[in-house]
Amino acid sequence: MTSIAAQNVPKKASPSASILARILKLAALIAMDVLVVWFVTRLASLGYYPLVAAFAIITLFVNVVVLRKEAYPLRWMVVGLVLMALFTIYPIFFTVWVAFTNYGESHLITKQQAMDQILNEKYLPAEGKAYTWTAFKSEQGDYALWLVDPDGNGYLVKVGQVVTQPKPGEAGIGELDDKGIPITIAGYQRLNPFLAATDKNLTQVLFGEAGKTIQVRSPTEAAELLPLYVYDSTQDAMINQETGVIYTNLRGTFTSSAGQSLRPGFVASIKINNFRDFFISPALRGPMVQLVTWNFAFAFFSLLLNFSLGLAIAILFNDPAFPFKKFIRSLLIIPYTVPALITILIWRGMLNPQLGVISRALENLFGWSPPWFTDQWWAKIAILLVNLWLSYPYFMLICSGSLQSIPPDIYEAALVDGANPWQKFRRITLPLLLVAVGPLLIASFTFNFNNFNLIYLFNAGGPPIAGTPTPAGHTDILISYVYNLAFSGARGVNYGFAAAITIIIFVIVGAITLFQYRYTRMWEEVSENV
């Protein structure tokens, strides 16, 4: 055991080389830290706090691993661990967080960002002053306005400065024309009314001091504008200054009691609402029950069909004397060697209702071919058929492997006892085989439970179920439904709800896998092998 302990300490190289190496290592570490700090600051300024936390923790971990001697073994795997933490573990946590929020269409930004946008809106108060205006522009592109109020008084206003009321001769103001507007202002050039009215930048400029700004509202009018909304933190509400309506924060949108809402909304915690919607929302209940039922049925029947065919073939050809055995096997596993995506698209072509070879052959033979893509039951059958073609070679391979490991003397004993072939299969082959391939069957069930590629590529979950609040199809399974929620955008993405369903799938898959571990005692084996 001493040699093992000794291995944990790095070997010493020559002293000068090791000092140089240490300096280089420290320099690299510091450079990395500086980059990460910059990166994280930028992320924080965009409001991506979960990501900030993830990067901070991971960087801390890397520093510890590089600096502490005890962490030497971890240096061998630090890159892998960092990548795993970022791209496997963080997404799991992030999914959990998103599942409890309303993240999605019109709820994409942080509360602060949304409030900034809302608080930026202005209105003209009833008692507010309106002026006629004339624009001046300096060489540098700064604007100044000359305002004339209804009483004929002239005012000068620049960006960020208090409104002044200079006489000609003061502050560079030249002679006034007959309308009371200075012909010249030192350093500025007077814009002709047409140019000024069509200058798009001008309407964006806030003149005067902050909080009491003056803005160009029309070609003839500039006015003193006030913020339309004021935020009241005690009520967590926006109050409209013009109408007095109170918009309270409701699930991430400021909403009035009359149901009107302010745009934009923001990401907010909505507690378990996503999960509640999944389980009890009346509008969703019908489609969800259908979806979940089909999801389980699809995984179950896929497994049953694929395993049965694979096993049947394995038993048929489980005979050392069978001619061309190797050749036949090579031909039979061909479906398994084609990338699944390509297979699925090929079958989509072959089953194409008007043009596909299978449909045309059936038309010629019977004058009728099943509506593979438009009828929900035929679509389901088609999917099971394609999956059968895709996966039976896998089961054939694992079954024939396990069959060969069943000792032949058991069959001889059965023969002596006068067992018929069915009894041999039912009482000997099947039980022994299930022990060997059971775990793989469970793994295959969970794989098919989430077989997104097949469902999405074959028919995108179609045909659609009529009258659902979000798009769902008769052959959709949970994971393809989640994909539609998050990425199709047909009726607005809803990441929060998608994440909540993802977690429900997590739970189902996790339970099945736990069962698999118990069933196979795999966990105990793992514990012994580490």
Binding site: L43, V98, L345, L355, L457
Partner: protein, 297 residues
Amino acid sequence: MSSMTKYQQFRTSATAQRRFGIGVRLVIAVLLIIFSIFPILWVISASLNPTGTLATQTLIPKNPGFGNYLTLLRMDQFPFWNWFLNSIKIASITSVLSLAITTLAAYAFSRFRFRGRQTMLKALLLINVFPGLLALVATFLMISQVGDVLPFIGLNNHLSLILVYLGGSMGINIWLMKGFLDTVPRDIDESAMVEGASDWQIFIQLILPLLRPILIVIGILNYIGTYGEFVLARVLLRSNETYTLMVGLQIFAGAQFQQRWGVFAAGALMGAVPIMIIYLALQDQIVGGLTQGAVKG
């Protein structure tokens, strides 16, 4: 005597039954082979059929030719050759880097004893329980957020896709590799250590050459998996020239399926054949890997 004839009768009837059985089974085998290779034959035929639409295809095309393949490589709107190269590039880089990462980690797990070692090994297995597909939405949001600051690891970028693939490649592969490493006798390391070799030298010069067979199998399985991966690539890549072959074929199928079936068939074949060859050549090793719990993705 009578028992003897009975036995002979039994024998002859058994052989006859056997012959009959083999005959029936050969017929079944032929039917199954037709079921399993018909789609492939049909695609080969479609790819050689000059008319090129789904409606006009017959199993043995009239005037076969390679016109569809030429069309395929010349389409501006669907840069097939780019997609193919993208797929090869991404799959190669991913499988090489993932081998490096997993081998180093497996070496540490196999040779060093440190606190948290068992917990980490078990955690790797547990994390694998969650299919990466499920974290799709979160991965997408994360990459798009990172991309807001560093566009070269953001959406529509091969680097970010490769990093995501690498992040998912720890786990089972480390277990497989560690299992293999545990069978390499420690005497080898220890004698080298006595001679003053560092861990790194031992790993590179002694252990790595011994690992070659398993490195090849894991590497190739990883390559095939990455090459055929669809969902992550579909979600993270956003423009025509960055697509991988699988994404490209799906998009082509969505847009042009019926009119240009022949061209699609040519593309599908060119995409599938390299993988089919690898599979058939390495049949036995891959079958070995299957029984250890790999499920095709």
